[in-house]
């Protein structure tokens, strides 16, 4: 892990072009409530980032700003060279390249698993149906549920539904994947099957931002762990350093709370 950061620092110049997400002095308010305070974050291509922090710390809100499911009020967010403004075309262009997996799956209950996976490729990417279905089957195989393709989401277990949701996002061939607490709504025995899929995905070079409390996952795949509290990024570091040698009191408190149970 520490190796990769060294290489990262040596390649500072080329990194400028390699930055896929740049968040610069970003603020967000819900009415009077200041949810996100001065967020600065650069993500390089292929980087895996895990974001953790107590509930209400703004971690979900932050990654939801990246595909503009939430609007920020101050500062800039540039995703893959496109700045997020009120321009709907830009927003749709960014969303095509950024996949998202939600805590509650949000599968379309009136469509089969296969139709869930082909909807966006067909209507957004204008892929021929047969081709879209082939791609969908490939990804369903990768998440290990090709045999469920013609079932409806309601007939699957939580873990299977979340794997379909991952496959659905991957069918758009995104360059960036956002995970918003993907395992928080799952029964313990189903968490592993979803994490396994995510670990496999991480090994393939896609850029990943993941809000999660699964610290084992963070240790295995993350290049960087970010700790947020009260709407601010408190600390960020490579996983080893982050877990073994946390700098801030709040980080220490948080880690002791989630690791000691």
């Amino acid at each position: 892990m520490s190796n990769s950061t060294q290489i990262g620092t040596e390649q500072m110049n080329t990194d400028q072009d390699n930055i896929v997400i740049r968040i610069n002095q970003m603020h967000k308010w819900y009415g009077q409530f200041h949810v996100l305070k001065d967020i600065n974050l650069d993500v390089t291509r292929g980087e895996k980032i895990v974001i953790c922090g107590p509930s209400g710390s703004g971690k979900s809100t932050m990654i939801r700003c990246i595909n503009r499911l939430e609007e920020h009020q101050k500062g800039d967010i540039i995703v893959d060279g496109t700045e997020l403004t009120n321009d709907l075309k830009n927003i749709e262009a960014v969303r095509r390249e950024v996949g998202m997996v939600f805590q509650h799956f949000n599968l379309f209950p009136h469509l089969t698993v296969l139709e869930n996976c082909t909807l966006a490729p067909i209507w957004v990417r204008k892929t021929p149906r047969l081709e879209a279905e082939e791609i969908a089957m490939q990804y369903l195989e990768r998440v290990k549920i090709p045999d469920q393709a013609n079932k409806f989401p309601g007939q699957l277990s939580g873990g299977q539904q979340q794997r379909v949701a991952i496959a659905r996002s991957l069918c758009m061939k995104p360059r960036i994947m956002l995970f918003d607490e993907p395992t928080s709504a799952l029964d313990p025995e189903m968490i592993k099957e979803v994490l396994d899929v995510m670990i496999e995905l991480a090994s393939e070079g896609i850029t990943m931002l993941c809000v999660t409390h699964e610290m084992g996952f963070a240790k295995t795949v993350a290049d960087r762990v970010i700790f947020m509290d009260g709407g601010e990024i408190i600390e960020e570091n490579v996983p080893q350093e982050f877990f073994d040698n946390p700098q801030h009191e709040r980080t220490k408190l948080f880690l002791s709370q989630i690791l000691n149970h």
């Binding site: 595909n67 499911l69 709907l88 749709e92 262009a93 969303r95 095509r96 950024v98 996949g99 998202m100 939600f102 509650h104 949000n106 599968l107 379309f108 209950p109 009136h110 469509l111 909807l119 966006a120 067909i122 209507w123 957004v124 990417r125 204008k126 892929t127 021929p128 149906r129 047969l130 081709e131 879209a132 409806f152 309601g154 007939q155 949701a165 659905r168 996002s169 758009m172």
Partner: protein
Amino acid sequence: MSETTLSQPQRNIVSRLWNDKETRSIIIQIIAFAAIFALFFYMVRNAVINLEAIGKDISFDFLWQPASYDISQSLVEYTSRSSHFTAMIVGIINTLLIAVFGILLSTVLGFLLGVLRLSKNWVTNKLAYVYIEYTRNVPVLLHILLIHGLIVHALPLPKNAINVSDAAFLTNRGFFLPSPEIQPLFWFVLALFVMGIIFSIWFRSYAKRVQDETGKYYPVFWISLSAIMGFPLIMYFLLGSPIDWQIPELKGFNYKGGMVIRPEFIALWIALSCYTAAFIGEIVRSGITAVSWGQTEAASALGVSRGRTLSLVVIPQALRIIIPPLTSQYLNITKNSSLAIAIGYMDIVATIGGISLNQTGREMECMTIVLLLYLTFSLLISAFMNWYNKRIKLTER
């Protein structure tokens, strides 16, 4: 000895049967069936005895006797010398006319209101809110009387009619519109219209095939619309407008020629539609809000545009919630049309259930006919809506 009540064999047979889940359900059903049958038998017997006492039989022969009354609005040929049966047919047509036009207008208005209620624009949202709360909290009979009153009292006499570009005339005796007189060349336009419909049906499946194979999609709706409406319209003007419009003219105290929509029809139609639209608006709003926001977010996150999110994700799910209560509203509008009698619109209740009944004294027969007619219409609407509901439900699981 005191334990005997608890031991199984000692319990009496009634208690044992009553406390068995299955036999209890059978017993309840038998009792309920017997009670309903007894009540029905009592009522029929009562009617037969009472009719006998006043020397009446049950006979539908009166239907073929002359009705001897006039009906202001009739789509079939009817004079005061026509039979009661013809009067009934006129009533049926008038009821169906109100029901069909009412359902159409209330659906359009209702969906519009529902969408406006969901609008983030404060003004449109509150306007729709005020409209809905006012309309649905005032009895529909008052709406009918109010709108009828407005037309009859606020609109001018024929000699001062409101003139809409020398073709239509709005008066307190009705709306006078030009009536079409079809020339032979018009059949070309009609043929093109029919071809447009056939083309659209074919084009729909063609477009789907093209999309399946190449991924390209056509604006099916707009192409179909121009095939069905656009080309026939162009043809119509190319052929030199092959319809002679007969424009109503003021002759004496009233307009002659053209066609007239009676104030009673307009009042009933507008009042029932506006009233029912308020309910449909709420049904549509609740149906759309019932689809979780997560669905819209998931579609947006995939880059699906707003319009397609609505048509592919939200509406298919909302319809499943909207259709059953919408069916009730369609039944309501059909049955509420019987309030027509308050303003003298000649529907089923006013014809066969009103004047015919009074003139012949055949109350049992007339009321049975009216009841069966409403029952038939309602069941037909229910059957259609249930079929539609099942069709869209099939795509769930």
